[in-house]
C-alpha cells in the first residue's frame, strides 16, 4: 500500500455551535489520502463535501477531530511559521474562476502572491521567470502576465487558478469543483491538464465534484458523502461496478449518460434513509467489506454485504 500523505480522523465541522440553528456540516468522517493518488469526493449539494475540503486546509477551524499531514496535525494551536509550512504544501483550486481571482491585480501579481509570501524568489527577475514558467506549464503564455483577470475566458481563468496553486510547489491540491463552471469542451482541457501535472510533479489531489462521470475518470478512489457522513469509500472502478451502500446506488442510477439506448433502459433507484431500520444504539460505522472497499453499515448489514460480496 502506498504511503499515507494525509490522515483525517473523525473530522467534525459544526456551524453555529450551541445555537438553535446548529448545522453539522461534517459529522465525524475519517479517511486517508495516499501519496500520488486522486481521491474523488462526491455527494449532493449541502452534503458537506466542500466543507470537508475547507476544513482539511484549515480555512475553517475544525470543531473536533484531527487532520494529520505526514503525521503532523494541521489544526490546533500553530505558530505563523508552522502554518506557512502547511500552506506551502497544501493548495486549493476553487470552483468559480470569476470570483476566485482578484479583479484588480495583474496576473503576474496574482500568481506571484504565494511566491512573495514564502520568499521563494531571490530577485524580481527570478520572480518574473517563475511566473512565466508557471503560465507555460498551464498552457498560457508569458504575454498573459501583464493582463487582468477580466481579459480571460472561464477556462483560461481556471488555468490561472491552477498556476497560482502550483506557484509554491505544493504536494497536495484540493480542487473544489474546478470544472463545474466550465463548458463541456473546456472541461476536458482542464481535466487533462490536471492529470498531466499530476504525472509530472507527483501531485496528490482531493477532487471534489458532483459530476460523477468526470470524477470516475480522474480519480483512483472515490468517497461518497451523504448529510455530513461518509457512506462509501472504494477504488473508482469498484465503486461504479459494485456500489454497496443504497445511497451510492441511487446516486449512480440517477446520472444520465450520453447514450440514448442506455437512457431508455435506465432504472432509477431512490434512497430512503429509513430503509436501514437501525435500532437505537446500533453501531453504524465504516467497515471494510472487500479490500479497500469501505461501507457505512451496521454489524448486521456488514455480515449481509460480506456474504453478498463473497457470492459474486
Amino acid at each position: 500500500m502506498a504511503e499515507k500523505l494525509l490522515e483525517i480522523k473523525n473530522l467534525k465541522q459544526h456551524f453555529n455551535v450551541g445555537k438553535a440553528n446548529e448545522v453539522k456540516a461534517v459529522d465525524g468522517i475519517s479517511f486517508d489520502i495516499y501519496k500520488g493518488e486522486t481521491l474523488g469526493l462526491v455527494g449532493e449539494s449541502g452534503c458537506g463535501k466542500s466543507t470537508t475540503g475547507r476544513s482539511i486546509i484549515r480555512l475553517y477551524d475544525a470543531t473536533d477531530g484531527e487532520v494529520l499531514y505526514e503525521g503532523e496535525s494541521v489544526h490546533g494551536k500553530k505558530s505563523k511559521k508552522d502554518l506557512k509550512k502547511f500552506n506551502r504544501k497544501m493548495q486549493m483550486i476553487f470552483q468559480d474562476p470569476y470570483a476566485s481571482l482578484n479583479q484588480r491585480m495583474k496576473v503576474m501579481d496574482i500568481i506571484a502572491e504565494g511566491i512573495d509570501i514564502h520568499g521563494l524568489a531571490k530577485s524580481s527577475k527570478e520572480r518574473e521567470q517563475m511566473v512565466f514558467d508557471l503560465l507555460e506549464t498551464v498552457g498560457l503564455n508569458k504575454e498573459h502576465a501583464n493582463r487582468y483577470p477580466h481579459e480571460f475566458s472561464g477556462g483560461q481563468r481556471q488555468r490561472l487558478g491552477i498556476a497560482r496553486a502550483l506557484a509554491v510547489d505544493p504536494d497536495f491540491i484540493i480542487a473544489d469543483e474546478p470544472i463545474s463552471a466550465l463548458d463541456v469542451s473546456i472541461q476536458a482541457q482542464v481535466v487533462n491538464l490536471l492529470k498531466d501535472l499530476q504525472k509530472e510533479k507527483g501531485l496528490t489531489y482531493l477532487f471534489i465534484a458532483h459530476d460523477l462521470s468526470m470524477v470516475k475518470y480522474i480519480s483512483d478512489r472515490i468517497a461518497v458523502m451523504y448529510f455530513g457522513k461518509m457512506v462509501e469509500l472504494a477504488p473508482a472502478e469498484d465503486l461504479y461496478n459494485n456500489p454497496m451502500h443504497p445511497y451510492t446506488q441511487s446516486l449512480l442510477s440517477a446520472i444520465p449518460l450520453p447514450d440514448p439506448n442506455y437512457e431508455r433502459n435506465r432504472v432509477r433507484k431512490s434512497y430512503d434513509p429509513a430503509s436501514h431500520n437501525y435500532t437505537e444504539g446500533e453501531d453504524v460505522r465504516m467497515r471494510e467489506i472487500t479490500p479497500g472497499h469501505f461501507v457505512d453499515c451496521s454489524e448486521r448489514e456488514f455480515e449481509a454485504l460480506k456474504a453478498g460480496s463473497l457470492k459474486v
Binding site: 477556462g155 469542451s185 482541457q189 462521470s213 470516475k216 461504479y240 446516486l251 444520465p256 450520453p258 439506448n261
Partner: protein, 351 residues
C-alpha cells in the same frame, strides 16, 4: 407530423459598444407536435438567444432581427406587437428558466404566482383559478398543495421550486414549452426527478418541448431530436440516435468524445482545442474550422451548406461533400457508430 413552429433563416444581432455581435447567423428548424427537441451547444453558441427570440424576451433596444421569420400558428412572431405577443407568452408558449431561485418572485406566495397566468389569459374567477392551481401543484408532485399555496418561494427547496416553475408554465396548457437548462442548478438525484416529471407531463398534455442544455446525458434522456449549435448556427440536426450514434460534424464528434463515459479507460480525454469564436467578428467559412483537426482549405473560405444524411439528419460540414476525402472520426465516436445501422462502421446488432 404536424409542424407547430418553424424557424426560418433567423438572423439576430446585438448592437453593443464594441460593435455588432452576430449572435444568431441563420438558424432553421421545425418543431413538431408532441416532440422534444434538444438544443445543445457551449455558452455563447446562441442556444438561449434562439429561444429567447422565439419568446421575444430580448431587449428591443439592443437586439435586432436581421432576417428570417418565426412562424407559429400562421403568424410571424418577429413581427408581432408587444401587446399581441403578451397574449401568446405564458399561454401558447411558455418557458422554464435555469435558476428556480431567481425566476420566482420572492415577495409573492406561490399560489398567486401560479394563478397569475390563469387570470391573465383565461376568463375564470379567482376561486376557479385557485382550484386549477392546486391541481397543478398536485400534478407536479407537490405534497399538501392547499397548504403550500400560501407559502413563499424561500420555504421550498430547489427541486420543489423548479416544480412550481413547471406548474406555472403549464397553467394554460401551452402548445410549446421552452425549457432553458431547467436542471442545471439541481443535484443529479433531483434532476432525475424533474426530468421524469417533465416526460410524464408531456405525455399527459401533449405539448412540444424545446429543451436547452449543455449536458449530453440529459439530452440522451429526454430528446426525440437534437440540434447542435455552434457559433450562432445549427451545425447538425437529427434524431437522438442519429446524433449520438452516427454524428457527422467534427464539433459533434468533439463534444461527444470530450465527455468521459463511465467506461472510459485511462486514455486521455479528447479535448477540443481553443475557445469558441468571437461573434463580434465571426470567422470566415466554417466557424469551427479553427478548432478542428479535420479542417480543409475550403472551410476557411466558404460556409458549408447542409448536407443530407437521411430524411431527418443533416449536418453542415464540407466533409460530407462528395469530393471531400474520407476521414476517421475519433475512436470513441467510431465506437458509437458501430452501434448504428447505416453508418460505415456498423458491426451488426449484438443479438
Amino acid at each position: 407530423m404536424e409542424k407547430i413552429l418553424q424557424v426560418k433563416d433567423l438572423e439576430l444581432s446585438f448592437n453593443t459598444f464594441g460593435g455588432e455581435v452576430k449572435a444568431i447567423r441563420g438558424v432553421n428548424f421545425d418543431l413538431y407536435k408532441g416532440e422534444t427537441l434538444a438544443i445543445v451547444g457551449e455558452s455563447g453558441s446562441g442556444k438561449s438567444v434562439t429561444t429567447k427570440s422565439i419568446m421575444r424576451l430580448l431587449p428591443e433596444s439592443s437586439a435586432e432581427f436581421k432576417n428570417g421569420e418565426i412562424l407559429f400558428g400562421g403568424r410571424d412572431l418577429t413581427k408581432l406587437s408587444d401587446k399581441e405577443m403578451q397574449k401568446i407568452r405564458g399561454k401558447d408558449i411558455s418557458m422554464i428558466f435555469q435558476d428556480p431561485m431567481t425566476s420566482l418572485n420572492p415577495t409573492m406566495p406561490i399560489g398567486r404566482q401560479i394563478t397569475e397566468p390563469l387570470l391573465k389569459h383565461q376568463k375564470i374567477s379567482k376561486t376557479e383559478a385557485r382550484k386549477v392551481a392546486i391541481d397543478l401543484l398536485r400534478l407536479v408532485g407537490m405534497p399538501k398543495p392547499e397548504l403550500r399555496m400560501k407559502q413563499y418561494p424561500h420555504q421550498f427547496s430547489g427541486g420543489q421550486r423548479q416544480r412550481i416553475v413547471i406548474a406555472i408554465s403549464l397553467a394554460c396548457n401551452p402548445q410549446i414549452l421552452i425549457a432553458d437548462e431547467p436542471t442545471t442548478a439541481l443535484d443529479v438525484t433531483i434532476q432525475a426527478q424533474i426530468l421524469e416529471l417533465m416526460k410524464d407531463l408531456q405525455k399527459k398534455i401533449d405539448t412540444s418541448i424545446i429543451f436547452i442544455t449543455h449536458d449530453l446525458g440529459v439530452v440522451a434522456n429526454v430528446a426525440d431530436r437534437v440540434a447542435v449549435m455552434y457559433g450562432g448556427k445549427i451545425v447538425e440536426i437529427g434524431t437522438v440516435d442519429e446524433i449520438f450514434y452516427n454524428p457527422q460534424h467534427p464539433y459533434t464528434w468533439g463534444l461527444l468524445s470530450s465527455m468521459p463515459s463511465l467506461d472510459t479507460e485511462d486514455a486521455k480525454l479528447y479535448a477540443i482545442p481553443g475557445t469558441p469564436p468571437d461573434l463580434l467578428d465571426p470567422p470566415k467559412g466554417d466557424a469551427f474550422a479553427l478548432r478542428s483537426e479535420y479542417a480543409m482549405k475550403i472551410d476557411m473560405e466558404m460556409d458549408p451548406p447542409f448536407f443530407k444524411i437521411s430524411d431527418t439528419h443533416m449536418a453542415a460540414t464540407w466533409l460530407l461533400h462528395p469530393d471531400a476525402p474520407q476521414v476517421e472520426p475519433p475512436l470513441s465516436v467510431i465506437e458509437r457508430m458501430k452501434k448504428f445501422p447505416g453508418s460505415r462502421y456498423y458491426e451488426g446488432s449484438v443479438n
